[in-house]
Amino acid sequence: MTTWYEDAFRPGSEIRGKWNGRVYVVERLLGAGSNGVVALVRRGTSRFALKAGRETVDHQSEINSLTALSLTATSFKHFLVEVDDMIVQDREIPFFVMRYIEGVKVSDYLHKHGQDWIYVIGSNLLRKLMELHRCGYVFGDLKIENMIVSKYGHVDLIDFGGMTLKGRAIKQLTEVYDRGFWKAGERVAEESYDLFSFAILILKVLDVKNRFQGLQHSLPQNREIEQLHPILKDSQAAARIAPFIQRALNGQWQSSEEAYQHWKKQVTGHKLTPSPLKLPWLKICFAASLLLFGATVYIYW
């Protein structure tokens, strides 16, 4: 069975906008879900990400959020490049074009560069959330798959389908990241909702013993947020941020601003523990050089 997008998104094929007439050339498919397709495309020398959706209302709803964001004086400014329709097999398929961000999944990044990067990445992610929250929105569907990490722990959010006006019902969610799933709060768009998902995301990437696997399929009556606490003890990187994570899971951060301030303190306030080997070596070398100096002086005297 061929899917509707296979032909239209074959590398090299052209996508022509019905309203604005711009032409994009497909480089490759980046991902396909139940209601949308994202492809890497090129126009002239610039590369973009193009998302096409068959569910017109849901798709347009995401565009509306992005349009609102693109007009703000935040890092999301100009994120949305263009909105148009393409015609596939005599059917109009709406699409939008956005900035293309090159990077990797946070879990891959930490695997490659070390778990200590979680502090910087956490800071950057919290700053993104703060920006959204200041504009009156909640991200909603925060999860590993919806963020991209690039050089030096730079963070970008990539899927805005869950973005919801504060106070409304969360539009789109993923069970494990949802506080309702853990019986830890309502599905209302509040800053604390994103902060809960943030905590789960951090726990998931630091979950070295793969504890989530078992918990995900437990019965709801046995499912409790306390079951996640052991993860905080499994890894050294997690131990330092444990108090922060626990407060986030309990919904005790009123705002992302407050949470961010605390995260920074927690991360930079601690003295960076130098690896225990280095100091003795330094001392030994220093002592040795003193001795050598003494000896030299003695010999030449």
Binding site: P94, G167, F181
Partner: protein
């Protein structure tokens, strides 16, 4: 007020009026009927899947056949989609009278953006009632844990809506009254605490009176008082 009935079953009806007729009646009264078939080991035959599809088609809703693991998500998705579709339909009628067509895709992007903004807002703020109708025949027994979870999950999402949103739960056949096709487990509510006592004492039985149960649920959803013993009277209203 938007009204939906969501039927969760795992097989064919075998007693009473056809569920397809019952669903068509619901649709005629402005109530959408969605159907989920729960199948864990492929026990739903051709007949069962065809019936499920037809009930939903007659009820103006959608149908899916899933396993217990997918139940929560499916219930969630169907309810939300039905709300959007109902509103889209209403908005579509307006568009039809203004523009001569009702297709969103025909609108230029800027206008489409405005229309969807209205749809989004209405979907969030309109009041909504969802009646869940659970097949409690013997074969459903191993799936009841998943059903409970799905109900809990749905109520969580309904509670978050700005518009007034309530849930009621029924199962069929009745376990209390041999002759009744329907028994209420939960009256209209949006309190999670009320879910805890549900289904603990269900004694699963063999017959599957899907049609009569659907009609009785419709009576309730259409805001006629629910009287469990008045089964015969309610049925005879609809049996042609």
């Amino acid at each position: 007020m938007m009204k939906q009935i969501l039927l969760i079953t795992d097989g064919c009806s075998n007693v009473g009026v056809s569920p397809v007729i019952a669903a068509a009646q619901a649709q005629a009264e402005g109530v959408t009927v969605n159907v989920i078939g729960v199948v864990d080991q492929g026990e739903l035959g051709m007949l069962g899947s065809e019936e499920i599809r037809e009930i939903a088609a007659a009820g103006g809703g959608m149908s899916r056949i899933v396993n217990s693991g997918q139940l929560s998500q499916t219930v969630q998705m169907m309810t939300r989609k039905t709300v959007t579709t109902t509103i889209q339909h209403a908005v579509g009628k307006e568009l039809q009278s203004i523009l001569g067509h009702s297709q969103l895709e025909q609108l230029p992007p800027t206008q489409r953006a405005e229309v969807v903004q209205v749809i989004d807002k209405m979907s969030e703020t309109s009041s909504l009632r969802v009646a869940l109708l659970i097949d409690a025949s013997a074969s459903m027994k191993p799936k009841m844990a998943a059903v409970r979870e799905a109900i809990h999950d749905l109520l969580l999402s309904l509670r978050a809506r700005t518009g007034q949103s309530e849930l009621a739960v029924f199962h069929f056949p009745s376990t209390k009254d041999r002759d009744a096709s329907l028994e209420m487990d939960l009256n209209w509510t949006n309190e999670l605490a009320n879910l805890d006592r549900m289904f603990y004492k269900i004694n699963m039985k063999g017959t599957t009176p899907t049609g009569p149960a659907l009609l009785a649920t419709l009576q309730f959803v259409a805001e006629k008082p629910f009287v469990e013993s008045a089964e015969d009277g309610m049925l005879s209203d609809y049996v042609v």
